[in-house]
Symmetry: C2
Subunit: 424 residues, 2 copies
Amino acid sequence: MHISANDPARKSFVHVPENSDFPIQNLPFGIFHTANNTTPRVGVALGESVIDLAALAALGYFNDLGLDLAVFTSETLNAMMRYGKSGTRAIRNRLADLFDAANQDLQGNKEHVEQVVLSQADCVMHLPVQIGDYTDFYSSREHATNVGSLFRDPANALFPNWLHLPVGYHGRSSSIIISGTPIHRPKGQQKPDDADPVFGPSKLVDFELEMGFFTYEGKPMGESITTEEAEDYIFGMCLFNDWSARDIQKWEYVPLGPFLAKNFASTMSPWIVTLDALEPFKVASPEQDPTPLDYLKFEGDKSYDINISMSIAPENGEDTVVCNSNFKFMYWTMVQQLAHHTVNGCNVRSGDLMASGTISGPTEDSYGSMLELTWRGSKPLTMKDGTERKFIQDNDTVTMRGYAEKDGIRVGFGEAAGKILPAK
Amino acid sequence: MHISANDPARKSFVHVPENSDFPIQNLPFGIFHTANNTTPRVGVALGESVIDLAALAALGYFNDLGLDLAVFTSETLNAMMRYGKSGTRAIRNRLADLFDAANQDLQGNKEHVEQVVLSQADCVMHLPVQIGDYTDFYSSREHATNVGSLFRDPANALFPNWLHLPVGYHGRSSSIIISGTPIHRPKGQQKPDDADPVFGPSKLVDFELEMGFFTYEGKPMGESITTEEAEDYIFGMCLFNDWSARDIQKWEYVPLGPFLAKNFASTMSPWIVTLDALEPFKVASPEQDPTPLDYLKFEGDKSYDINISMSIAPENGEDTVVCNSNFKFMYWTMVQQLAHHTVNGCNVRSGDLMASGTISGPTEDSYGSMLELTWRGSKPLTMKDGTERKFIQDNDTVTMRGYAEKDGIRVGFGEAAGKILPAK
């Protein structure tokens, strides 16, 4: 077939409910297993189904792509990602054609269809990538301004470097978990005003509304990736809730940055939406003034119009959406982040994760953390059950959702949910 | 045999030159290959030899230890380390006995000895561990005081949190390299006083004299490792030069910490000296005032008397030792660092690396960085060839060395060397 995998006219013979995050134009990658076959393997979401790529490969549907088919029975996507953009693009394009309603190649073989199309309800999702290094940026101007206003000085909210470079720092890979994994409230040192530090459960557990991107294997150490090349090194994106303990953070973070306040957990969505699938949703990012240095300049639209929200559900209670933001509010783009990260010769590897930092929008209901939404606890939010929240309480479930929509096509990310259990 | 692997009376039938870092009381682990057998595999240093553990395993010398012998033909030590302290201790004890001059088990079989005892000169060393997460602490009081005095206020050099917790932050794993790997001078943004930021090669490349420790697999996420348990989760130590670009650092590091200033490279020594081998060199760490919170308290001596030095050699020139420090100067101990790191439930994995931060001593010649040694460039150091150094110049080779010595036994770390090439 010679039509784009993203063509809005494509329909799949696999049922896709209205408003599904996973039409045939999406085809995001993940790792799953089933009760019948407990081997973790590569899958792709389509409607309410999971396509079993290991089964498709075993049936010969990828034979001409020149891939080692063992990559589909790997516990992570890293092996598949080592084929780079051309490799993963070829796989996605093949899937778009195979599952197109107009194509009988697979559709015509009911036995094969049964083997490869599984119900999402029967699939247990795994953390899809062995994450080597995790970097967190701080690229939302509204967020940096809000935090600067709250903790320092509203008149000088942004630090001098902020408009000149995408500020970032290294985070913790070991505690990145998949949606649905519960988290114990972290304990740590906090410093009451005018008293010695004390130890105990954090009282100010917060979410951070972020999105992350995964890299392909980059260039050797000592070389850099330009903004022009950067998209070739980005596999895809996920939802990312970078849990934070504000009281621990406040006491520990000067001068070397957040540490225990962040590294107890970060929750990601199970499906990685490829940059290819997001291509139709490209939009301009905010104008940059001052003009950045040459190595940070780029041409064309490099942001994406992705609606993202966070909601809180008390134990056995209903979800209350507490913020609606959008990825397009990000001041620094992913291509700038990757160019900056490697400009000193730092190497990136297949499976490295870079997150956006909290994405706050211009309006008060688009702020990406409780810290900002409640303005440091001074304006509590009211849940549907009438209870109030300044920060996250024990047994609250916090759920991030996200999707892009255009021309009647909705390409979504599913959700990244986590429940805060009491401290151990 | 029933004598300790550390017994000073032990001699090996393998020749160990005087002042070797690697007597039979050491037996540090690494990964190597040879021209004859290019499979990376586990080795142990002994004198000027490398013991091939894969060969020993194949000959049956580990058969009764209950280990999967495939761990010795792994590209990294991670698989072996998954057996925990009891596993690696059993291997080291077995080696101490097998290579003891008083034992004929191996010594008596010349053919076996030839197969397992290789010349270090014939071995190419590899990065020994697949490092999951790398954490850098900031645990030398003298270093933190010097940096605080240089960049802020000598009267208030330490930040308020410094004496209450071991300040740490996450670093970059991907760019940790083995001794001997050259590094290109990093490029990045620098901010001249009263001018806009500029882009170019760093002018202030520095070393940081550190030591690192590797963890075994820790407890599940949400649980903590106490100071009392911590040693059971520490495999061993290495030399660690955490290269830094001071001009990049100064502009980027507020408020989230160092990023590009550090993540272009860190150089480690190829051999990991076990905590078991260091046991005879235990000493007290500096008294802590104020008394730390309960979770940071510990009993007994938890530091080690390890001499560490850094030297600089210009291109084709002689080594000039520029600092002599000691691990025992560290204010916060490794057991406190690990307890702090996990007190919030953060999990550590087999192969995670935690570094000390720059270890400066009380005297000016024991400072662990050029920043401190030259007092920000104001007191240049003179090399043996008469040239001066404020920071590291292109084509300089910087070499870290370290050893512990007591009762006539020297347990050393070899070296961690790196040459700074011109910027690309």
